[in-house]
Amino acid sequence: MMELEIELKKASDSLKSWDTTSISLTAGCDLFMRYVTRTSALEYEDFNSAKSRLIERAEKFGEISYKARRIIAMLSQDFIFDGCTILVHGFSRVVLEVLKTAAQNKKLFRVLCTEGRPDRTGLRLSNELAKLDVPVKLLIDSAVAYSMDEIDMVFVGADGVVESGGIINMMGTYQIALVAHSMNKPVYVAAESYKFARLYPLDQKDMAPALRPIDFGVPIPSKVEVETSARDYTPPQYLTLLFTDLGVLTPSVVSDELIQLYL
């Protein structure tokens, strides 16, 4: 049993090392380990039955994660009403699922997409939405405050949900959340529960850096520095609700869930 745990840990570590910056990967691996090993199966005398129990739980975990998106999409349907305008930032498959389901339910809404430089997430997302016949409008990132008046809600995904209830997401999310908060627009986050991580950033720089090169299209003089961080941290006070497969949660509940799971 102990050997099995050690093996699992080794596998998990090697997975994590593949992409050290991915919070969801790390969080997912950690949660998987907890979920799988936190069972009385480890006390079974018979190794085989214990093993099959572990496998059972592991498959269940995979199922949950797979179904998570659908559950989240279902939960968020109530929040999308006819005639609403949704602002989306970043390319999140969960958010896409949400919008897909809404479109399938014949809801009438329009989507404003930020361009999402330099990853061009906005372009990808608008492509997908256009296929669904959802009216899409593209904005440059700087036009968010300008358009905030006509927006009813903001939908974002998350790379990771941290203990304070805040989220780590693509660069620009914090900005949008700030603007939305100051204009009293709700910010909804769609994230699966395996993304809950045991991190607690105090400020923007308190996280492991995730850098990616930015291509400006023109050569930059070498003396000029470029901020290449790929993500930022949005504190919980700017988030309204989190849609997760555990339900619709407020940011303070994230810590509750983490405590129950980890402690």
């Binding site: 203990e163 607690y200 105090l202 919980p236 303070s252 980890y262 402690l263």
Partner: protein, 650 residues
């Protein structure tokens, strides 16, 4: 401060209607004096002291005392009257013979106080609402701060009281007549507030005091005495005036002051004078508290305040009088008293170790079960410790744990096995919940310190000190700003130790915190306790530092062990706090020449307030580092629910 208090119909700060007006059986004097302007919807503000029938909760406004007094003359219902008499400072005092005389003598002085006290009855009402349970018989005598306890002992005759009343009243606007009347009622010790007379604050205070004293003393007389006695215990929070009552209330204080602090005084009419040990204790307290009464801040009357420096001889004499306290507990108590041991962890550990020693030396008396007897013994030790210094919340939790363990002892254990098991439990508690917890906290929190940081801390928290030393050992480069404040100046000892360790430190006082905050990157604070709504209950001044940090967008991290969490909720720093020695505010140690308040020490319109704790709202806290990890302030009730409720305390 006023706005922070719950909405009560407050006329002025002195008149605090607690809102539990329950017109007692109107029987007696249906007509009330305007003592309760706000509430006096019912009883027309007639002078009749009938208001006695009103619950003791009513606070007679210090107005038209004279009017009321006359009205109060109705000798009826002793009970209501006595309480009513409260309004008449002197009157109350007068009701009792010895006390009367005492009050009589003191009436000139106290009466102005009493009169002001009168209004303070309002505060009384806070305590007095307890009286409700005790019936309206409680004379509204205020723990006669400043009144000789002995007078309390005297069961004044109504007549005597009456006689006194006039004297006492003289100080106030109240007419002597009313005094006389009140006398009649005084013996009854009614708890109702009577005077509707508006008096000056000092008058009211003296009135209150006289009433309290009368109450204390008057308790002896007829029902009044009992009511008084009862009342006094109730006014436990209401320190001062009646030392005996205070003492009694002390006694009433359970070993769970935080939880029952208000209920402490509720106990049935304490026959404090019947119970010898209590009397003795009361006496001891009495001597101590006498002089504090005058200068008590009204808003904090519900908190006990003792005269510092005079308790030691009392304690010593008391030590041999009652059941001998175990020497270790006694020692710890004295250390608390002297202020040698401060800080939640230190006090808790000292107390637990003393208990451990006491348990080791304990033998079950014949025909008694170990669990019950030991629990009772621990309870008595705790009461003793409370007398020395009110319990901190960490100590309260530790005591709960200990009692829990005692209760869970299997009956099959032999005495020595049980004792060993208990001592082991205590050691494990100290080890796991405090020492190891501190290490875990330090490990977590040091991940939040980066090179180049400027860390700010306030006062002296042992965990924060450990954290800074540990971060230094890890080789991080940072600078520390220590903010300190009078009168305790705890930061100086921390500064000394950190500088000796080799840290770069800056030292400043609380008034400069907004000046220095813009340079700070992180704030680390300790806590005495964290409550369920995320409020941090810590050394006074912490809230100010946290608020300034929040205004400058500097993250505030609280380092606190999980055993200090409590399921209580506190919204402000007033309803539960601890009052320190007010003279410490006026004096500067080491500078005898700085004595600007020397002559003003006993003025009525000057009150010195030395708060020990304050409550920091959760919105100013970024993160709490506990032995369970780093949690947001909103998750404190989760920890309490998951880990502190279960009896195992594991």
């Amino acid at each position: 401060m006023e706005p922070r208090r719950p909405s009560r119909a407050v006329i002025d700060p002195k008149v605090r209607q607690v809102g539990f007006i329950t017109p007692n059986a109107p029987p007696q004097q249906p007509v009330r004096t305007q003592s309760y302007p706000p509430e006096s919807n019912s009883p027309p503000l007639s002078e009749s002291p009938a208001s006695n029938s009103l619950s003791p909760v009513m606070i007679p406004p210090p107005r038209h005392l004279s009017d009321n007094l006359t009205a109060y003359r109705t000798p009826a219902v002793p009970v209501p009257e006595s309480s009513r008499r409260r309004a008449e400072p002197a009157a109350v005092a007068c009701s009792y013979d010895p006390s009367e005389s005492l009050f009589g003598t003191s009436s000139p002085a106290p009466s102005p106080l009493a009169s002001s006290r009168l209004v303070v009855d309002g505060e009384f009402s806070e305590e007095s609402w307890f009286k409700k349970s005790d019936s309206a018989k409680f004379a509204s005598s205020f723990p006669g701060g400043g009144f000789d306890l002995t007078t309390v002992k005297n069961v004044g005759v109504a007549a005597a009281v009456a006689a006194k009343k006039p004297a006492a009243v003289s100080g106030n606007e109240k007419s002597k007549a009313s005094g006389a009347e009140s006398k009649n009622e005084l013996p009854s010790g009614s708890g109702s507030k009577t005077s509707k007379v508006k008096m000056t604050k000092s008058e009211r205070r003296s009135l209150q005091e006289s009433q309290r004293a009368a109450k204390a003393g008057g308790n002896k007389s007829a029902g009044a005495s009992s009511s008084r006695a009862a009342k006094q215990p109730q006014q436990k929070k209401d320190a001062a005036p009646a030392p005996p009552s205070v003492a009694a209330s002390e006694k009433k204080g359970t070993d769970r002051p935080p939880e029952k602090e208000r209920k402490k005084d509720v106990p049935a009419p304490r026959m404090q004078f019947d119970d010898k040990s209590r009397v003795e204790k009361a006496k001891k307290r009495a001597v101590v508290n006498q002089t504090e009464v005058r200068n008590r801040v009204e808003l904090f009357r519900h908190l006990p305040q003792y005269e510092h420096g005079t308790q030691l001889p009392d304690l010593e004499s008391k030590f041999f009088r009652n059941d001998p306290m175990h020497r270790a507990v006694y020692k710890v108590g004295l250390q608390y008293l002297a202020g040698d041991i401060t800080g939640g962890n230190a006090r808790c550990i000292a107390m637990l170790q003393a208990f451990s020693e006491a348990i080791r030396d304990y033998t079950t008396p014949a025909e008694k079960t170990l669990t019950r007897d030991l629990t009772a013994k621990i309870g008595s030790y705790v009461s003793f410790l409370i007398e020395c210094r009110p319990l901190s919340i960490s100590m309260g939790n530790a005591i709960r744990f200990l009692k829990n363990r005692i209760a869970k002892l299997p009956l099959t254990l032999s005495e020595s096995e049980a004792k060993t098991s208990l001592c082991l439990d205590i050691d494990r508690f100290i080890n796991e919940k405090i020492i190891l917890a501190d290490r875990v906290i330090v490990r977590h929190a040091s991940t939040k310190i980066r090179d180049g940081d400027v860390l700010l801390t306030y006062g002296s928290s042992c965990v924060v000190e450990m954290l800074l030393s540990h971060a230094l050992e890890l080789g991080k480069k940072f600078h520390v700003v220590i903010v300190d404040s009078r009168p305790k100046l705890e930061g100086q000892s921390l500064l000394r130790r950190l500088v000796a360790n080799g840290l770069n430190c800056t030292y400043t006082h609380l008034n400069a915190v907004s000046y220095i905050m813009h340079e700070v990157t992180r704030v680390f604070l300790g806590a005495s306790s964290i409550l369920s709504n995320g409020t941090v209950y810590s050394r006074v001044g912490t809230a100010a530092v946290a608020m300034v940090a929040n205004a400058f967008s500097v993250p505030v991290l609280i380092c606190c062990e999980a055993y200090k969490f409590h399921e209580r909720v506190q919204l402000d720093s007033i309803c539960f706090n601890e009052l320190g020695d007010p003279q410490a505010v006026a004096k500067v140690s080491g500078r005898g020449d700085v004595n600007y308040l020397g002559s003003l020490g006993n003025k009525d319109n000057l009150q010195l307030l030395n708060l020990m704790y304050d409550a920091t709202p959760s919105e100013y806290i970024s993160m709490i580092v506990t032995d369970y990890g780093m949690i947001p302030p909103t998750s404190v009730p989760v920890i309490v629910r998951e880990y502190c409720r279960d009896q195992l305390w594991i």
